[in-house]
């Protein structure tokens, strides 16, 4: 594989980790202060959706326009 693919490979992984960590962390904090237990699941969904959207914008949509 060429280096551009290798770069994209690790960047996709970083985006997924970042999205889930960020929004799950926010969800856990909200749960901690409001004494609830479902915000972490909502955060997980938002994190997954936002990181997949970012990957779509960055690697899939631009590439198919070329």
């Amino acid at each position: 594989m060429s280096t551009s693919e290798e770069s994209a490979f690790w960047t996709i992984l970083s985006y997924l980790i970042a999205g889930l960590l960020l929004w799950c962390g926010i969800g856990l904090l909200v749960d901690h202060f409001l004494k609830t237990n479902f915000f972490v699941l909502i955060g997980m969904a938002i994190g997954l959706a936002s990181s997949l959207y970012l990957i779509w914008v960055r690697f899939i949509r631009i590439d198919s326009n070329k």
């Binding site: 960047t11 985006y15 970042a18 960590l21 960020l22 959207y53």
Partner: protein, 254 residues
């Protein structure tokens, strides 16, 4: 048979007491680190001292490692400005490679990078370098703006994506860089230790079970060669990713 149960190796086996004195600088990983620096310096000084047009075997070995890093990683990834970064990449590559290979050399048998402190300190250097390069080239404001706000998506989406990009560049990238090297070395050393200690434990059992001990030892030897592949690959991947991050920092847009 009354035998004590088998104790699997754990993270406690990675903690060493000082070989002499009380200082933390006298433990095995730190001594291996110093030894690797001496070894690398000696090798490249000796191999490049009598540089000739028709190279000797030693000079050929040294030059092929150098040209691998310069052409294979530096020039292909960074592009026309690569010459500035070749010493940095070359130092990282040889340093990590030597320290990883200590994991399978007999009597040393400890990859220095399986202590989290060493990959983290290398990563801090890399972190400073690639952000410094980017800020020097684009200026702080433009760098952050290019990083967080890319063109071509609807405005409300920036709320969702800008913190994500920021977190990726400033936290997740260096974190995964350090964790990947540490995790690979740690798990590999644990695996080798498990098979060796398990074989040794089975040796003290009844004669039927001694056959399994032989299997365990031969697996340990086979996995050592597998580990050698992983150690070289991790050094290469670490250097390649450093080059990719520098190339990303130098690029006109992210």
């Amino acid at each position: 048979m009354a035998q004590p149960g088998f104790e699997p190796p754990g993270s406690g086996d990675f903690i060493f007491t000082p070989i002499f004195g009380n200082s933390i600088l006298a433990t095995k990983p730190v001594l291996l680190l110093f030894f690797s620096v001496i070894l690398i310096s000696a090798f490249f000084i000796v191999s490049s001292r009598k540089a000739a047009v028709v190279p000797s075997k030693l000079q050929f070995a040294g030059e092929s490692i150098y040209s691998f890093v310069r052409d294979g990683i530096g020039r292909d990834v960074i592009g026309h400005e690569f010459q500035r970064f070749v010493p940095f990449l070359f130092t990282i590559f040889t340093f990590i490679l030597t320290n990883n290979l200590f994991g399978i050399i007999p009597f040393m048998q400890f990859p220095t990078m399986s202590h989290i402190g060493f990959p983290v300190s290398i990563t801090i250097f890399v972190y400073l370098v690639y952000h410094y390069v980017a800020i020097k080239k684009h200026g702080l404001g433009k760098y952050l703006k290019d990083m967080c706000f890319m063109p071509g998506i609807p405005k409300p989406m920036y709320v969702l994506l800008a913190p994500l990009e920021f977190l990726t560049y400033f936290a997740i990238r260096p974190l995964t860089l350090a964790m990947r090297l540490f995790g690979n070395m740690f798990a590999g050393h644990l695996l080798l230790m498990l098979f060796t200690l398990g074989g040794e434990y089975l040796l003290g059992s009844a004669w039927v079970i001694k056959i399994f001990s032989a299997i365990s030892f031969s697996l340990a030897i086979g996995l050592s060669f597998f580990e050698m592949g992983i150690q070289c690959l991790q050094a290469y991947i670490f250097t390649l990713l450093v080059a990719l991050y520098i190339a990303g920092a130098l690029a006109d847009e992210h």
